[in-house]
Amino acid sequence: MRDAITLQTRAGHWLVALLVLGGLVFAVVGFATGDTFYLRLATEALIFGGLALSVDILLGYTGLLSLGQALYFGLGAYVSALALIAWQSFWAAIGASLAAALVCGLAGGLIANRVRGVYFALITFGMAQVLAKAVYNTRALGASDGLIGVPVLDINLGLFSVSSASPVGFFLFVLAVTVLFYVLAAYLLDTPFGRLLIALKANENRVLFIGYRTSTLRLGSYLVAAVIATLSGALYPMLRGFASPELLFFSTSGNAVITVILGGVGTLVGALYGSVLLTIVKSVVGSWTEHHLIVIGLIFMAVVVLLPKGLMGLVQPALVSVLGRGSRR
């Protein structure tokens, strides 16, 4: 038996496979033409796609809109940058970021999960503002100038190693990591834990009545989202060589929300496609007018009103019906 949610998840897997395929083709073309810029731009799009994925876990599955997910992205970027400067080790940077994500995610989750709905949105917004201000003011973190001087590093993966300076190598690495995030999120949401989150979104009281502690469930999803956002942020200084307080600003959180809405809420894969799409739109519109916010704002509003399921809302139903037909046989 396959229920609707399973089918949707399946459809998502196919779309991720398509994204990976597209990524591989892109990498080959990029490598053959000796490109640097587009490969690294795509890498950045994937990194921000990871951030958007974490927003979707909260918004699409638990019904919590975070307007401050940049808090964790920036946390990852700064912790990773500091660790890389100190030890030049990928695994040390990831380990430190993970530890920071768990500690801060738990603390932030305990505060933010006391409330829901718009209050949750405003409280996450406020927490990110406070941290951004603190970083902006801290000389040891480079204050308003940010942290520069993050070294180029070789990522030792046991069998082989990837240089963060190699456009195609690092692109493939980030693609793999992003898919890993997706798989992790999709797996978790397919477990009983994930199904309870979806139930929670639909009707919190009923979940309570069947005897689950909804606060623990919501904290769990908050923590997963925090970890994915932090680890995505940890990749940023490896790509660009610096971390700046702007990564913590509302524009970063807001962009992640726009990405998820464009791509499609509650689809996970929509976050990744949305990020690629937004990057393309920005670079096209950006070289055409400096008033790109008008264009992006209008597109965003149109999607909210006309396409509540975003880009994936156009694609996924068709795929679901194809998959559904296959399963009935």
């Binding site: 019904g63 809109l65 006391r114 718009v118 949105a121 406070v130 008033h291 704002g297 965003f300």
Partner: protein
């Protein structure tokens, strides 16, 4: 000691009061819109900026300040009405109204802010202060315009409360907030009441723009200035409560004023935010109940 009291503490409290009235003016429209429509208007700050820019443009063609106090809110009414009917209503009945309308108004804020920059350019403007001069009360120096702003602001706040709580129109608004279907079946034109209340909230933001422009100057990103504080005020005061917004607005700005004196100005914002968090945890409904309950 007396010197300190006279020069430092008293002015701090008095200027804190003026700031408090300014914040309440911005928060008032926000809380009415939330109380009635259950909509978080993320573009409220940009409507405040729009009001200030309309005042600036009309002032440049020669309209006197006194006329602007009426002209700008009146011009903002149809804008607000159209935004409610044309945008908000389109997603009003979606499953998750809070989040969908928040997103929609967030998008609208992006567009509006950039449009203001497109029309007026990125640089700041400063309208002439309409009332010059100052008085000294007990050695505290008080510019007349600030006193005027506090007085007019107070009148607007009291007037709004009277409209909402003492008129037939207000009763309709409160009825619609309390129970939409019941109000509709009693013959309240709910749709129009909603759009009207949104327009009224937007007009209040515009009025705040006119009043505050001579003090805080005018530029495209000015809408971001007050919005976090205004949200904090309506959360602490209780979403949809006019009285709560007034109490919270005065209280929080005093906390800011005093804490920036004794701790450090940079801690003023985190302290106010901390109060909001504590409030949400201890008493999520805020100080006072919403529009339909008071």
């Amino acid at each position: 000691m007396l010197d300190y009291l006279q020069f430092v503490l008293t002015p701090q409290i008095v200027t804190g009061l003026a700031l408090g009235v300014a914040v309440i003016l911005v928060a008032l429209g926000l809380t009415i819109i939330f109380g009635l429509l259950d909509v978080i208007n993320m573009s409220h700050g940009e409507f405040y900026a729009l009001g200030a820019f309309i005042a600036l443009a009309l002032g440049q063609v020669g309209l006197p300040f006194w006329a602007l106090l009426f002209a700008v809110p009146i011009l903002m009414l149809p804008i607000g009405y159209l935004v409610e009917r044309g945008l908000i209503q389109r997603v009003f009945h979606s499953k998750d109204r809070h989040i969908t309308t928040l997103l929609l108004t967030f998008g609208f804020a992006l567009v509006l802010e950039d449009a203001l920059r497109l029309v007026f350019g990125p640089n700041p403007y400063k309208p002439e202060t309409p009332i010059r001069g100052a008085v000294e009360v007990l050695g505290t120096y008080l510019p007349l315009y600030r006193l005027f702003m506090v007085a007019i602001g107070g009148l607007v706040i009291v007037g709004t409360a009277l409209i909402v709580y003492r008129t037939r129109l207000g009763a309709m608004v409160r009825a619609a907030a309390f129970d939409r279907n019941m109000a509709a079946s009693l013959g309240v034109p709910v749709e129009r009441v909603y759009a009207g209340a949104f327009a009224f909230g937007v007009a209040l933001a515009g009025l705040a723009g006119v009043l505050l422009a001579p003090i805080y100057s005018v530029f495209p990103t000015m809408g971001r200035d007050f919005i976090l504080l205004a949200f904090t005020v309506i959360i602490v005061g209780g979403m949809g409560s006019i009285g709560g917004a007034v109490i919270a607005g005065l209280f929080l700005t005093q906390v800011q004023a005093i804490s920036s004196l004794y701790i450090s100005p940079v801690w003023a914002d985190p302290i106010v935010f901390g109060i909001m968090v504590i409030m949400l945890v201890v008493r999520p409904q805020g100080l006072r109940g919403g529009l339909g309950h008071a």
